[in-house]
């Protein structure tokens, strides 16, 4: 089976700093691939490469086996890749519907088609089983988890095949984190290929199918989420112990 999205031998440098070196990764539909690593491991660069913010120096990005050039976020979206960054890019003063469709408003003639937008918003939020008090309140009034839900829901509007989530649980409380992780599972059920960038090992073990570990730009290994222990992952992330050797990272 051909993967939904493939990175083949991808490298990226910023000046003298090698952010990613010769990385190979595959993500399938109906799958959550988590990417973990310490600060500076290259996680955000990887997210940038997938979402068209950065272009690789070497190597290829393939979608369904076809090489693609993701030169901008817009180009990535056209190829069916949507990204939700740490910075949610929501306008606090606009309500949920306005934010969901910002930049892609439905209009009949010169006037906005509020009815169809509001209907689509409800359908989408229902599918995600997202709890939002109203789609007509400014997002400033929503909780952090709800805001993140709205940002993720907006990424889904173009019906992308691949969704890249960059640190989706950062700065969230326990309940809100659970809310977002449930949402990630629902994305998998909907048939998306999900790339979950995170530094929280508990989070990725909760929802991921496979876990890729990055350290200093190198892909250290891929682990099966079911069978891998936290210690294995910590060891791989920090490099304190040889990967897959088990034992404690001190």
């Amino acid at each position: 089976m051909t993967a939904a999205i493939t990175l083949a031998g991808v490298s990226k440098s910023f000046g003298a700093a090698q952010a990613l070196v010769d990385v190979d990764l595959e993500v399938n539909t109906h799958e959550v691939l988590a990417v973990v690593g310490d600060n500076g491991a290259g996680k955000s660069t990887l997210a940038g490469l997938l979402s068209g913010v950065h272009t690789p120096d070497r190597g290829q990005v393939r979608i369904d086996g076809e090489p693609v050039h993701l030169t901008s976020p817009a180009a990535a979206r056209r190829e069916g890749i949507a990204a939700v960054f740490q910075e949610l890019a929501l306008c606090d003063n606009l309500d949920v519907v306005e934010n969901l469709f910002l930049g892609h408003e439905a209009a009949a003639g010169i006037f906005l088609d509020e009815v169809s937008m509001e209907r689509q918003a409800w359908e989408l939020l229902d599918q995600l089983a997202a709890r939002v008090p109203s789609v007509r309140v400014p997002v400033a009034a929503l909780s952090g988890g709800q805001r993140r839900t709205i940002a993720i829901a907006r990424a889904l509007l173009g019906d992308p095949r691949v969704i890249v989530l960059d640190e989706p649980t950062t700065a969230l409380g326990i309940r809100q984190t659970a809310q977002v992780l449930t949402l990630v599972e629902r994305l998998r059920e909907r048939g998306h290929a999900v790339v979950l960038i995170s530094h929280s090992i508990t989070d990725v073990q909760a929802v991921a199918d496979r876990i890729a570990v990055l350290r200093l730009g190198h892909l250290i290994g891929e682990f099966d989420a079911e069978t891998t222990t936290t210690e294995d992952l910590l060891g791989a992330i920090t490099g304190a112990v040889a990967p897959r050797a088990g034992g404690r990272a001190s």
Binding site: E87, D92, L102, R119
Partner: protein, 403 residues
């Protein structure tokens, strides 16, 4: 769609959002409408002349020019910008019309067109400097204030004052032409019927789409309130000269701007850019184009305000648009409930705000109080309005870290 899930959709349709608009919503029109009533009652008690139809007709005519300028300010404020040069731009526009008609022997209409184009070009320049080169609008328009005021004086020439002929249509439009009583009543009826029809049609669309919709009765509250309001205005002002054409123009401009801001992509983008510049950019909003359009709209409306001022005074001089006019226009927009911090406000705040400011000026003049007192009172009202704006903003920001 499941009906079971419809229950928690508490936001309702137009009725509750219309209600929110008037109470604690974005635009907060209710407090300022209430304040206006208080001001009118107080001045009416202090000097019954204030309440006479003739005085209120004057009040409405006095409000037009500043109100049109304030409307432009509302647009730039919504886009998260400011234009300090609106007074100078209006003065230049007045000078162009007057000098064109008198010295250049132009038809007045040509002068008006040239003035509006000049305004649009000034706004275009601001917009390009701010949107493309990232210069701060505050400083650019402050520079514009000085430059344009200088140009205005040059255009006026050595005398510094040019009178428009009293028989020109521009003067009559602003001083002498009033909507005939019958036409006013028919017009009011048409507006009310139109608003009611739109409400019913929208309710039907929401019902068909299985979205929460207000009751038919709820939909009809808005046109009913509007009908009472229009009947009072038309009936009462009709006892004196009536409703001036320039007043109709102002109200129509406000209504059209309101629809553009709330119901079109452009309006949504203006509010988005004013709310969060970077988020709008990331969402794919054409930020630059939106900013440029906001500056163009503001300067063009400022020029129109100047043209109307020239008509009302039947003259243009070095003082036209000068002094604190730009501050008055900004104060009107803010008093009316448009936020200085961008993204929140309504076109109607230009109408309400300018009515508050002109009522204070008019009422204090009737009480024989001088300009100093007028300034002090207007300043206090402005401080009060800005305090409310800031407090509400802080309350809304409590769950948000961005400042």
């Amino acid at each position: 769609m499941t009906t079971a899930r419809t229950a928690p959709r508490t936001d309702g349709g137009r009725i509750s959002s219309a209600w929110q608009t008037w109470t604690d919503g974005d635009h907060r029109l209710a407090p300022i409408a209430g304040a206006l009533v208080v001001i009118w009652v107080a001045f009416g008690i202090a000097n019954p002349t204030f309440w006479t139809p003739e005085n209120l007709v004057n009040l409405s005519l006095q409000s037009v020019s500043t109100g049109v300028i304030a409307l432009g300010i509302v647009i730039v404020l919504l886009a998260g910008q400011i234009d300090l040069s609106v007074g100078s731009v209006s003065g230049l526009a007045a000078a162009i019309v007057a000098v064109g008609a008198v010295a250049g022997d132009w038809p007045v209409a040509l002068g008006v067109v040239v003035a509006l184009v000049a305004g649009a070009l000034i706004g275009l320049l601001y917009g390009v400097l701010v949107a493309r080169f990232g210069l701060p609008g505050f400083v650019i328009t402050l520079a514009g204030l000085l430059v344009v005021a200088g140009v205005q004086w040059r255009v006026l020439g050595a005398d510094g004052s040019v009178n428009l002929p009293f028989d020109s249509w521009l003067v009559k439009f602003n001083q002498a032409w009033f909507v005939p009583d019958g036409v006013a009543w028919v017009g009011a009826a048409v507006v009310v019927a139109g608003v009611a029809t739109i409400g019913i049609v929208e309710r039907r669309r929401r019902v068909l789409a299985e979205l929460p919709a207000p009751t038919v009765l709820g939909v009809l509250i808005r046109p009913a309130v509007l009908a009472v309001l229009l009947a009072v205005v038309v009936g009462y002002l009709g006892q004196a000269r009536g409703i001036g054409y320039s007043v109709v123009l102002f109200v129509v401009l406000v209504a059209v701007t309101d629809v553009l801001l709330r119901r079109t992509r452009w309006g949504r983008h203006v509010r988005a850019v004013g709310g969060d510049h970077r988020a709008s950019l990331l969402a794919g909003v054409p930020v630059r184009r939106t900013l440029v359009s906001a500056f163009v709209a503001c300067s063009t409306l400022a020029a129109l305000g100047g043209v109307l001022a020239a008509g009302r005074l039947a003259a243009a001089n070095q003082g036209t648009g000068g002094g604190g006019l730009f501050l008055t226009a900004i104060a009107a927009a803010v008093i009316g409930g448009t936020s200085l911090f961008g993204g929140r406000g309504s076109a109607w705040s230009a109408l309400l705000g300018v009515l508050v400011i002109q009522s204070i000026a008019n009422g204090l003049t009737l009480l024989d109080l001088d300009a100093a007192t007028r300034n002090i009172v207007t300043g206090l009202v402005l401080a009060f309005a800005v305090s409310i704006d800031t407090l509400l903003r802080q309350r809304q920001q409590r769950s948000v870290t961005r400042v």
